[in-house]
Amino acid sequence: MSGPLLAIRDLRVDFATEKGTVRALFGVSLSIDPGETVGLVGESGCGKSVTALSILRLLPSPPAIVRGGEILLRGENLLDLPEKRMCEVRGKAVSMIFQEPMTSLNPVLTVGEQVAEVFTAHRECGRREAAARAVSWLGKVRMPDPERRAREYPHQMSGGMRQRAMIATALALEPSLLIADEPTTALDVTIQAQIMALLQEMRERERMAVLLITHDLGVVHDFADRTAIMYLGRIVEIAPTKGLFSDPIHPYTQGLLASLPGKGTGTARLSSIPGAVPDLSSVPPGCPFADRCPYRQAALDRFRGGADSRDSLGICDREDPPLFEYAPGHFAACHYQRAMRGGGAS
């Protein structure tokens, strides 16, 4: 047993803003095995990008403050590494692609120069060879006419080509972990399919692990071995992807799956989650999903009715539920399910 490639343990991140401290991550734990693809799904603002940027230590600080936890890469805590060592980790061991390639590609360098820079910055080889390797990588990511495109600037390219260029820079040093933050959200369906096919091919060829961040359940359904569902700075459910879709446990996951349109045409209403995602600056104590949860009332009644006399005040409103394991590798954080399904181990 070689253990996980990456293990995030109880990561807590705050932002010090003008209006006070905003808690962004409330103790996130997540591990990724070598070669594994883990999906991270959640709605806008739930903390997906903050999690990703924490791994690479790219959060702006201030305002970001890491309050606790550890991020172990092959057992070594990235949070303790000196910045110099961290630079080696970035790109070489772990690299990242972003939703909008335009913001992370340098507008004044040609695409070829940017890929080549990855090699020279890490002193892999000289300039000449770097330029040649860059063209070869652009070819590997199926950039049409790579020699010519290497001499073009990002703004001369379509969104799909820019995303290819960014993938080339991210993969150039053959990292063991690729973090892909909404890699296809800004792209059209047919281009999205091209990019996902490319990522699929690359991860198989390079035997690379991927943290695939998206708000689209369809994307993780098709590509992730395991999937984590995030809500308001916590992972509320994590499971092998098949199990998550066939037996969602957390009420939020159930609601998300039931509200997906497209299973049929016609008159059927979609089931929907009431309310909206609350603001992180005003998260109440207790379960983060409580104000939208259909089971909360049931949970209240159950505890009040004496089935469990420990709690007459509403445990959902008071205690943030911990994750419990319901099936091998299938964890969810919900008081009600814990009481109903019983069992489980923490």
């Binding site: 709605e43 349109p261 497209g262 929907s272």
Partner: protein
């Protein structure tokens, strides 16, 4: 004033666009001063049936928004005709256009920028009543509050400003504004694309309920095939300014005819094929400033033959009620 001839029986068709064209001038590239034309809508004919939903789907820049704006005369077409309730409204102007516009409304993609930040919500919702002298003052206020409650907000919302609401709530305000004058046609241009997944379903349900209640027709524009499938009775698939396929939604999703529709459907995660069996199109979407000759889709089509680069296929009835524009379909 240019009027039109009222057709005795519009045969259940509320809106009929025939052979509509629209081009915009654009600079050839970022650095160039040369002006070329973008053929945003390039000879499109579609019908929206009364009280039903026509879904318009396609990738970005294919002309959906332009077509939607032409449909309700927010934009004048370069050529073609627009008939609404049997009346030719292509060249309508002045008072006649104003009166027709009451019956056609639009909901925008971006609930953030489409609501006036300096107006109270009840005045946004009741603006049409005010303009058309239907209600003012206390009556406007009460009617606006009732409508806000109908779209899932509270009466108190009327006294607030748009920025005090979340994205989903703002879209509800936009919907209330659109239905205030009991329109016959509502163009919904990507109405849920900017919303969180868990809020999208609420808005889609609201749109369906309101359609049932008021009998409006929707021209529902989206790039999201799952949403289109859920909302539409009829579907039109657009590519580079042209309709590729068009027909009843259930049949189109069950058995797409056109190669472009087939590859689109196959690419939708979870709804289409498993990733390994996907039809992955090669190449990029060509620029609408220089659309390929012949069939617009031939540069990416997996079925293309030499003839496709030369001859533009016509939209033909390939099966009863189903239309496709491909040399090898039907």
């Amino acid at each position: 004033m240019s009027g039109g001839i009222r057709r005795p029986d519009a045969g259940g068709t509320l809106l009929a666009l025939s052979n509509v064209y629209k081009a915009f001038p654009a600079r050839k590239s970022f650095f160039s001063a040369e002006v070329v034309s973008v053929r945003a809508v390039d000879g499109v004919s579609i019908d929206v049936p009364r009280g039903k939903t026509l879904g318009l789907v396609g990738e970005s820049g294919c002309g959906k928004t332009t077509l939607g704006r032409i449909a309700i005369r927010l934009l004048a077409p370069d050529a073609g005709t627009i008939r609404f309730e049997g009346l030719d409204i292509t060249h309508l102007s002045g008072e006649a256009l104003r009166l027709t516009r009451r019956r056609m409304q639009i909901i925008f993609q971006d609930p953030y920028s489409s609501l006036n930040p300096r107006m109270r919500v009840r005045d946004i919702v009741g603006e049409g009543w005010h303009v058309h002298g239907i209600a003012r003052g206390k009556e406007l206020r009460e009617r606006a509050e009732r409508l806000l409650v109908r779209v899932g907000l509270t009466a108190e919302a009327g006294g607030k400003y748009a920025h005090e609401f979340s994205g989903g709530q703002r879209q509800r305000i936009g919907i209330a504004r659109a239905i205030a004058l009991s329109p016959k046609l509502v163009v919904a241009d990507e109405p849920v694309s900017a919303l969180d997944v868990s809020v999208q379903a609420q808005i889609l349900n609201l749109l369906k309920d309101l359609q049932e209640e008021y009998g409006m027709a929707y021209l529902f524009v989206s790039h999201d095939l799952r949403v289109i499938r859920h909302m539409s009775d009829q579907v039109a698939v657009m590519y580079l300014g042209k309709i590729m396929e068009h027909g009843p939604s259930a049949e189109l999703f069950r058995e797409p005819l056109h190669p472009y529709t087939r590859s689109l459907l196959s690419a939708v995660p979870m709804l289409g094929n498993a990733p390994q069996e996907r039809i992955v199109l090669s190449g990029e979407i060509p620029s609408p400033t220089a659309p390929p000759p012949g069939c617009r889709f031939h540069t990416r089509c997996f079925m293309a033959q030499p003839v496709c680069a030369e001859v533009c296929p016509l939209l033909r009835e390939a099966a009863p009620g189903r239309f496709a524009s491909c040399h090898f379909v039907g």
